[in-house]
Symmetry: C2
Subunit: 402 residues, 2 copies
């Protein structure tokens, strides 16, 4: 049976040329979108040297020997208004009053804080402290230089990026279009919103959970349907799903029972059909992956934890690879609080708990695979890629956080 | 000068009764919203005991001595269809065929996997392996019990919660209404989108950065204006802001210069006026907090890093306290990669870097306070609450992540 890595490589091999769209969005609407091309500043920020305080723009050399007892005496030529042009250049022995943020006049290379000066009656200023060249000055381009990378392709836009973009005059951002997903939930026992489950029936929660994870990942669900275990209906819905979306997720129906139509339905449509059936991981072992009309179709087992984890470790992974996604703070280093030797390659849901100066991980589920509440409790998961070694209490492990 | 903790306590004292609104949203639209009341399940999930596999529902006692050589022989009464009612109860010596997820018939307490059985011609089934009571059965309420807390008041809704909510039949969630913010950016030197800065002018990036942080925190910006350093205009805009929003943020104009109208404008409107002017932290020392018409008004210094940090450590803190926000994974434990003895109580922007089995923190800014690019690079910040001890290379520190 295929390993997870081999499955992901095979999926990548088939779909690495899947088309991805682009979209230009306003900087105020771009949070959590993924940047589609490197964004480089076309300007220096600030565009001119600025004062960091209220005071006097000077030639540092003029103040070199100034002290409380022997102040330097400078002629003040006037004031640079904040937001105004410092039209007047200064020369040796001269200064100009500047406010915080004012443009530095030509000739000046430092600012003396107003607290260290005293104006005299006749347009002269006494300076009681020497400054060095560059002191209290924000140089042109100190924040961002022309040509500097502001945010790279594949990075997710976060509030912290917005100030720098706008400071560089970038109010619109080219981002990847949201990938469109269709979700098909299968099973005679499932009921949707508006229906009250009767004996033997349960609510379809998988398609809702998948939609939430898709949305969080920046995708869009364009179609979500619940299909009974009827092969004809199933095939019709799969065709519609492929028609409307970039990727199709099917929840349930991928075991080998009489009502498991997923593989047959994928193979019944034009395209390569199923090329993965079963992966050596738990949960998620019965995973089916196929290609119909050039698009990926994922058959996810119906137990609640499997579809969510397979979305993270297989489906989202493909999307991230297509857009060169730059992972950032998606992992937490935690101390394992239990022993575990699973029989298989396992993704284990864990809860994190903050201790004095470390983070502690414990299993979110007491073992039962059919637990929406375990997902709800889980902060993330640990990938046990060496089941024989397993996990031992006290060891450090990497937790992929949701 | 007030400490940060004292300032936050004073703000809480004034505004702990600030009204917060509620809103009912669809479970598919509730991501990142904050739950307004404990959500408790009204049902057992699953609502009946279910089979975990395809096989036969049995009385475990009937199989106790079954083995490869001496199979137990059970009479098969038929099948429980998935999604159907297990109307037929079974008794000693009987069994019913069940699919994965099928309802367990009354009387049965375990399921034998189909792989460990063989049907005979005459409605009898041979069972080659003994099972214990409860084996391969998901008991009624195993996932969620009636009365069990699904998600608590103050928790932020994440994709991981959605499956459990829907499984419990909860398709609508009561969340806190988005707090409405007004942002006023002040300064003659500032230009907005659509204007090209000329000599001495810079782009107003603070109000955009604040809007992004507000949005991420679940708030809504209902008004964002740029005001020149004109006292009358300033006061008019403040009055409009207070009228339209729950909280007002003013960027710039809170030093003690001639153009710093924030304190005067707040004091000019009905209400208690300014009650905090200056906090013993860097950046953000000139922070002003006041009350106008019962609403909080925050005057934030104009240097780019200060308003963003003050939003996180003061403004968002008040909002979080009002809604009993449950912090979750907002801190990372990192190893400090530098020495620092700041002169003041400092919030230091840091970048995080993943090493072999720990995370390393280094300063995001080379010291210049006016850096939108430093915010852009920062993964979070460290609160240096003991400046004398400072930070030493190799020590463990808590990083609040953005």
């Amino acid at each position: 049976m295929l390993s997870l890595a081999a499955a992901n490589d095979l999926i990548w091999e088939k779909f690495q040329h899947l088309p991805v769209g682009y979209e230009v969005v306003d900087v105020l609407d771009c949070l959590d979108r993924i940047v589609a091309q490197d964004i480089v500043s076309g300007v220096d920020v600030p565009g001119f040297s600025r004062s960091m305080c209220d005071g006097y723009a000077v030639l540092a050399g003029d103040t070199q020997v100034a002290s409380e007892d022997h102040p330097a005496v400078l002629r003040c030529l006037g004031e640079v208004p904040p937001g105004g042009d410092a039209a007047l250049p200064i020369k040796e022995g001269q200064c100009l009053y500047v406010s915080t943020g004012s443009m530095l006049p030509a000739g000046a290379d430092a600012v003396v804080m107003v607290e260290q000066t005293r104006p005299t009656d006749e347009d002269f200023v006494l300076v009681y402290k020497g400054v060095t060249s560059g002191e209290r000055v924000i140089q042109r381009g100190d924040d961002i230089k022309t040509g500097q990378l502001v945010i790279a392709r594949g990075e997710s836009l976060s509030p912290r990026h917005i100030g720098a973009l706008v400071a560089a005059g970038i109010y619109q951002v080219n981002v990847f279009a949201r990938p469109r997903f269709a979700i098909i939930s299968t099973g005679d026992e499932l009921v949707d919103n508006g229906q009250e489950p009767v004996a033997g029936q349960i609510r379809d929660s998988n398609s809702y959970a998948l939609q939430a994870f898709i949305t969080k990942a920046g995708g869009e669900v364009v179609r979500r349907v619940l299909v009974k275990d009827n092969r004809e209906l199933y095939e019709q819905e799969l065709a519609k799903a492929i028609d409307s979306a970039d990727m199709v997720l099917i929840s349930g129906g991928c075991s080998v029972g009489t009502r498991d139509y997923t593989a047959a339905a994928i193979n019944g449509l034009p395209g390569e059909g199923v090329f993965i059936q079963g992966v050596n991981i738990r949960p998620g072992r019965p995973l089916i992956v196929g290609e119909c009309m050039g698009k990926p179709v994922f058959g996810l087992p119906g137990h609640p934890i499997a579809p969510v984890l397979l979305f993270k470790i297989v489906v989202e992974k493909l999307w991230h690879r297509l857009i060169d996604y730059q992972y950032k703070n998606d992992k937490v280093t935690a101390v394992v609080n239990f022993d575990m030797r699973p029989a298989l390659y396992t993704h284990l849901l864990v809860q994190l708990e903050k201790r004095d100066d470390f983070i502690c991980a414990q299993p979110a589920s007491p073992g039962n695979p059919a637990q929406t509440s375990a997902i709800s409790r889980a902060d993330g998961y640990i990938w046990i890629k060496d089941p024989e070694a397993g996990l031992s209490r006290g060891q450090i492990a990497e937790v992929m956080v949701f």
